[in-house]
Symmetry: C2
Subunit: 392 residues, 2 copies
């Protein structure tokens, strides 16, 4: 009944050890983790409770992290983490969305209880779930602590995936193959966009005949027509028409691990300009996939792409890929490696990247992406799906 | 093709006027809006782009808000808002998830351009999308500005719903009735939980024969068995068994307006203790619905509930309802009125509340809720669905 954490206790301990190594190197004595993916990564905790303040306290001299969250979610922590009961601390409901007291006041009390009130305290300064008010509460309640920027500290620990993580991403990849095929099968003249979106998400959650899918961190991005000229629109209340172009940025998810995938579909014969852009993007993508191997940097990958598209009609202003893996809404990106100028991060085996050369021109867009893992000798695509403009 | 904003320009202007009234009353000269629901409410902007920093700047002497966001989302702003092109300001991709520069540095430049660098600047301090780093960037870049707490300022403007907002919520209510019935129909012995979740979300997006549904801000909360002892778990990879209890906290959404609804289902005959708790909760809920009318406060509603359940086996520590409406992940609550001790907010016509008496005991939970709107004389339920423990 109780879905135990999805990794061995040894794997969690190794993650914590790596986290503490980084803390030590950066002079952080106590770490406050508020990113839901980082909480999950270090403790197994899973629940749609991140809309209230919650997190982990990582101490140097206590093996288990301390989970804090709303009291009504404490049973959720008992059910989904490996933590012992005395590491699970729920706060009363009068802290929830109140202007009288803030959950971080409770956390400050906990930090005092665990002797961290004068320590160098790392916080995830730019995480969605660490608000300005969190900052303020900690500064006010712990005047003797030294508050330090530990943004993305755990995200960087997550960069290189373990064999078990890769295995979950492979399972997610089997799901996204089915999801993409579902989208292609269902989208047609006269079909409502909401109907297509419904079938897509159903395919995400139903999963395969062997296992169930989890929710993805981004809902299906599937704009049509002129709405393909921008990156993040969903479906609207209309029926597909002949000639419609549809962007499909979809994913599968298993135990919070994603496999994202983008393709572009047109209902009817493609205009010459689209065919040309599609060819340019796919050629560039292929060159990039050939190029990626251990030792190259994010910016070198992007440079390969930029050279490949120079002279074509493809215009691309934004980064052409990013690290991905375990995540919660609103994003499946890990906010670490980005394939763009200036990114000096060196790729090593086990790094997972969504190579995502989406282009959004004034009148239309085109996307064709591949999620990959860097291997000892190059890279491997998670997904097996025709790399082409899909003409229906 | 272009789905214009879903409200009249007059309605947006009236919302802005109310926002400026509050700003004036609180001494705020320029307001930075980062909550995606508040952005949508004041401009119509809609897109899954809130995973990067974006927002609106509201000035006192400029009718249109200024939208800022990632450049590749600017076309999205052109397509979904009523704003003129010179009110749409995209930042370059090198600001995205970079440790070299922060999007709020760009916003600080914009604030200077619009003469706000020495103004009293309100920010949404505890919003998910206003991180500690946002705070820090503004303090550092605008040393002469006075940064003020404008948390929930626009949320409170949103409290009383307009007839058009109520109409969208009624449409969402038609969807959630279908969604809940779908869940009840599909959940059965031997069915995989992921299959049920897939059908539920499909029903949310397909909508009715007349209109499409949008994604809800919370994915289906539908734990089974022991997992019902806590508030925010989803489905897992198992098949339902005889005797399973399943909590269903689901919603419909139309144009970002929600209708949430909770029910509890058991596969097989209910144990006596569950029947008793269900009766206690539903009796209490009915008394609360009879009690709600203009003039009563949040805490008086909760007191009515507490009296109703005293002497029964129902134990409830957490708040028993909250304002809801327009929202984006991760929450459909508005973070304003809460039905709990200490809440002195007076209910008035047009306020919409999810009356949500969920109880989570050590071994099992029970939920039965109603989304309502306060009327001139009492309250009206959005949803028409049997208020009972569902036995299958």
């Amino acid at each position: 009944m109780n879905p135990k954490p999805f990794f061995t206790i040894e794997e969690y301990r190794s993650r914590l050890a790596k986290t503490r190594e980084t803390m030590y190197r950066e002079g952080i004595e106590t770490l406050l983790v508020t990113d839901p993916a980082n909480i999950n990564y270090l403790s197994g905790y899973d629940g749609w409770s991140f809309y209230v303040h919650q997190g982990l306290i990582i101490l140097m001299d206590r093996e288990e992290p301390i989970w804090f969250g709303r009291m009504q979610d404490s049973n959720g922590a008992k059910l989904t983490t490996y933590l012992s009961d005395d590491s699970i601390r729920g706060y009363q409901d009068h802290y929830v969305q109140s202007n009288l007291r803030h959950p971080m006041d409770f956390v400050a009390d906990l930090l005092m209880e665990f002797g961290s009130e004068k320590k160098r305290l790392g916080v995830e300064t730019d995480n969605y779930y660490f608000t300005g008010q969190c900052f303020k509460s900690l500064y006010e309640n712990l005047p003797e602590a030294t508050i330090m920027d530990a943004n993305l500290l755990v995200n960087w620990v997550r960069l290189i995936k373990s064999p078990q993580e890769i295995a979950y991403m492979q399972k997610a990849a089997r799901i996204v193959e089915k999801v993409m095929q579902t989208a292609i099968d269902v989208i047609d003249i006269g079909v409502r966009e909401g109907e297509a979106a419904g079938e897509v998400v159903k395919a995400q959650l139903v999963g395969t005949s062997e296992y169930t899918g989890d929710y993805t961190s981004i809902m299906p991005i599937m704009p049509s027509g002129l709405r393909t000229s921008t990156a993040h629109l969903s479906w609207v209340d209309r029926r597909y028409e002949k000639g419609d172009l549809v962007l499909l940025e979809l994913a599968g998810n298993v135990h919070r691990y994603h496999a994202p995938l983008s393709r572009t579909l047109i209902i009817g014969p493609p205009p010459a300009q689209l065919t040309e852009v599609a060819k340019g993007v796919i050629d560039g993508l292929n060159k990039v996939l050939d190029f990626i191997k251990p030792g190259v940097t994010g910016e070198e990958v992007e440079e390969t792409w930029r050279k490949a598209i120079s002279g074509t009609k493809v215009v691309k202003e934004s980064r052409m890929g990013y690290a991905f893996g375990n995540n919660y809404p609103p994003d499946w990106g890990e906010h670490t490696v980005s394939l763009r100028p200036g990114d000096k991060n060196v790729l090593v085996p086990g790094v997972t990247i969504h190579v995502m050369p989406g282009v959004w021109l004034d009148e239309f867009g085109f996307e064709c992406s591949e999620p990959i893992v860097v291997t000892e000798t190059g890279c491997e695509c998670f997904v097996n799906f025709p790399r082409q403009l899909i003409v229906k």
